[in-house]
């Protein structure tokens, strides 16, 4: 026994190791072949030179990239003030939809209507309607700012989604826990605050991470009502230079932010499913 331990691996483990090495080798070879094919054949296509000139133009990228990063700061700012408000409003709507008391029935209906409407309307329409519509009522500056009303449009839309996720989280806490807590003499309110919500929120953190990533991209929709964030800035360069490279630059900046965030969300999800199994 101790001998075989010292030798390290059982025959089965050795076999599996060989299998793994073999599949790694195959994966590496096929990836390499694929990349080679792309590198060799794509530039051979007749339109490549033009595509390269208008999508992957190094000179244009170098010229526009600093300004794009500058504009991206505005995206981050809008994101930062919208996200906490979305979390709060989303949670409130979820709680309203879950209200048990008959007296709160109107609240329940209202919150259901809220989620239906704002999940059902494309974000860009909400941005337009709220961003131009409400200031059009004659609000004085600075209260008619597109930053305020555009952000509100995002907040309303996203909190509708976030509320549904919170509600799923609340539903995922087994009813027996509620009953147990109630039988211990806790009030409905205490049960929700101290027993249900802490578990519900934990359960939905990975899903909410995905909403954060989506929000981060949708901030760009505010560009339609005025703010010059990264998407608009790239669009301005695109028009002036008749070149799409600034869009590629913007995509790179987005990816630098969203890829780590997506990986983190995946990690949270994997950890959660490990803990549950």
């Amino acid at each position: 026994m101790s001998d075989s331990k010292a030798a390290g691996k059982t025959r089965r483990e050795l076999f599996e190791q060989r299998q793994r090495r073999r599949s790694t080798a195959i994966a590496a070879t096929s990836t390499l072949l694929f990349l080679l094919a792309v590198i060799i054949f794509v530039p051979m296509t007749p339109g490549w030179e033009k595509v390269q000139k208008s999508f992957f133009n190094g000179a244009v990228l170098a010229k526009t990239f600093p300004k794009l990063i500058e504009a991206f700061k505005l995206n981050i700012m809008i994101f930062l003030w919208s996200a906490p408000l979305i979390a709060i409003l989303g949670l409130l709507v979820a709680l309203a939809r879950d209200a048990k008391s008959p007296a709160l029935f109107p609240l329940k209906i209202l919150s259901a209507a809220f989620t239906d409407v704002f999940r059902g309307v494309p974000v860009i329409l909400t941005v337009y309607l709220i961003g131009f519509g409400i200031p059009g009522l004659g609000l004085p500056r600075p209260w008619n700012s597109p930053y305020i009303w555009g952000s509100l449009a995002l907040i309303l839309t996203y909190s509708a989604y976030v509320a549904e996720i919170f509600r799923a989280g609340i539903d995922s806490v087994h009813p027996s826990q509620r009953s147990a807590a109630l039988s211990l003499g806790l009030s409905e309110r205490q049960v929700m605050r101290d027993i249900v919500l802490p578990q519900a929120v934990r359960n939905v953190v990975p899903s909410q991470m995905n909403m954060l990533i989506a929000l981060q991209k949708d901030v760009s929709l505010l560009s339609f009502i005025g703010p010059v964030e990264i998407f608009r800035q790239a669009g301005v360069y695109k028009s002036l230079m008749a070149n799409f490279t600034p869009y590629v630059g913007a995509a790179i900046i987005f990816l630098v932010v969203t890829i780590p965030a997506t990986r983190y969300a995946d990690f949270l999800l994997a950890r959660q499913s490990r803990q549950r199994s």
Partner: protein, 271 residues
């Protein structure tokens, strides 16, 4: 007299048809032989195209297209219209139009990706202000302090960022309708357009607005010359340039301008 007219018409028709058959400049260079496919915006705006109906020939650009087509030997019936967005027009690759006309300003950067015809119009940029700012003086100093808006795909953005240098952050929009909404909502004080568009918007679209001044056309170089956009290397460019040169020298172009574009002499120059 009548005989003469008929003779003129017949001979014109004959020369037109022989022109194409006999190797006129444009022969064999268009997408569909014998047809001229022209793209314009969707929608196309007044006063460039009236009622979004370029096939009527009404409006400055629509009229220019039919005049150019005639000059190149195409009958009016041989002009086919398609619609395109700005992006579609500057994408690399094959185009679904022979040329595209929607107030494209000729810039050297754009010229690297696509081709432009010779300019058919030189438009000064003009300042349109909303009801809240009609008393603004037409000086650079006064303009700096306004809350500015502009169309994100227009060369006016460059003008704003390089020359006017507003003190407040610029707001940019997708098209003129959105700028209109922003002015109406009092989110912006002023916007920069080409002069004919500005005059139209202030007269018809935005109540209480006013065109307070224009920039000298030669001062903002390059940005204000409108050209027809063609795919890079399109051989038709030579024919269009010839036609435009002919129309400039025989006064056709000026006559079309006088017919379709408002008199712009009343707008003061910005100092």
């Amino acid at each position: 007299m009548i005989k003469q007219t008929i003779f003129a018409a017949v001979s014109a028709a004959l020369t037109a048809s022989t022109a194409i058959a006999g190797g006129h400049c444009a022969a064999g260079k268009t997408l569909t032989d014998g047809k001229l496919t022209v793209a314009t915006g969707n929608p196309a705006y007044f006063p460039w195209v009236l009622d979004d109906a370029p096939e009527s020939g009404n409006g400055f650009e629509a009229a220019v297209v039919y005049a150019v087509a005639e000059e190149m030997g195409f009958a009016a019936a041989d002009v086919a219209w398609v619609r395109s967005s700005f992006d579609e027009a500057i994408q690399p690759g094959a185009k679904n139009f022979d040329f595209n006309i929607q107030q494209y300003s000729i810039t050297p950067e754009r010229d690297e990706i696509v081709d432009f015809s010779a300019p058919y119009f030189t438009a000064p940029m003009a300042v349109l202000v909303g009801p809240g700012a009609v008393d603004t003086k037409a000086t650079m100093e006064a303009l700096k302090g306004l809350q500015w808006g502009a169309s994100g795909s227009h060369t006016s953005v460059q003008k704003l960022m390089n020359d006017i240098l507003p003190t407040k952050d610029l707001l940019l929009y997708g098209d003129n309708a959105d700028i209109n909404a922003a002015i109406s909502a009092n989110q912006i004080d002023a916007a920069l357009f080409d002069l004919p568009t500005a005059l139209f918007l202030s007269a018809v679209m935005i109540e209480g607005s006013k065109v307070i001044g224009q920039f000298a056309a030669d001062e903002s170089q390059g940005g204000d010359q409108f050209g027809m956009l063609l795919e890079d290397g399109n051989p038709l460019k030579v024919c269009i340039d010839d036609a435009l040169a002919e129309m400039t020298s025989n006064g056709t172009l000026a006559a079309i301008e006088a017919t379709w574009l408002q008199d712009t002499t009343g707008v003061p120059l910005i100092k």
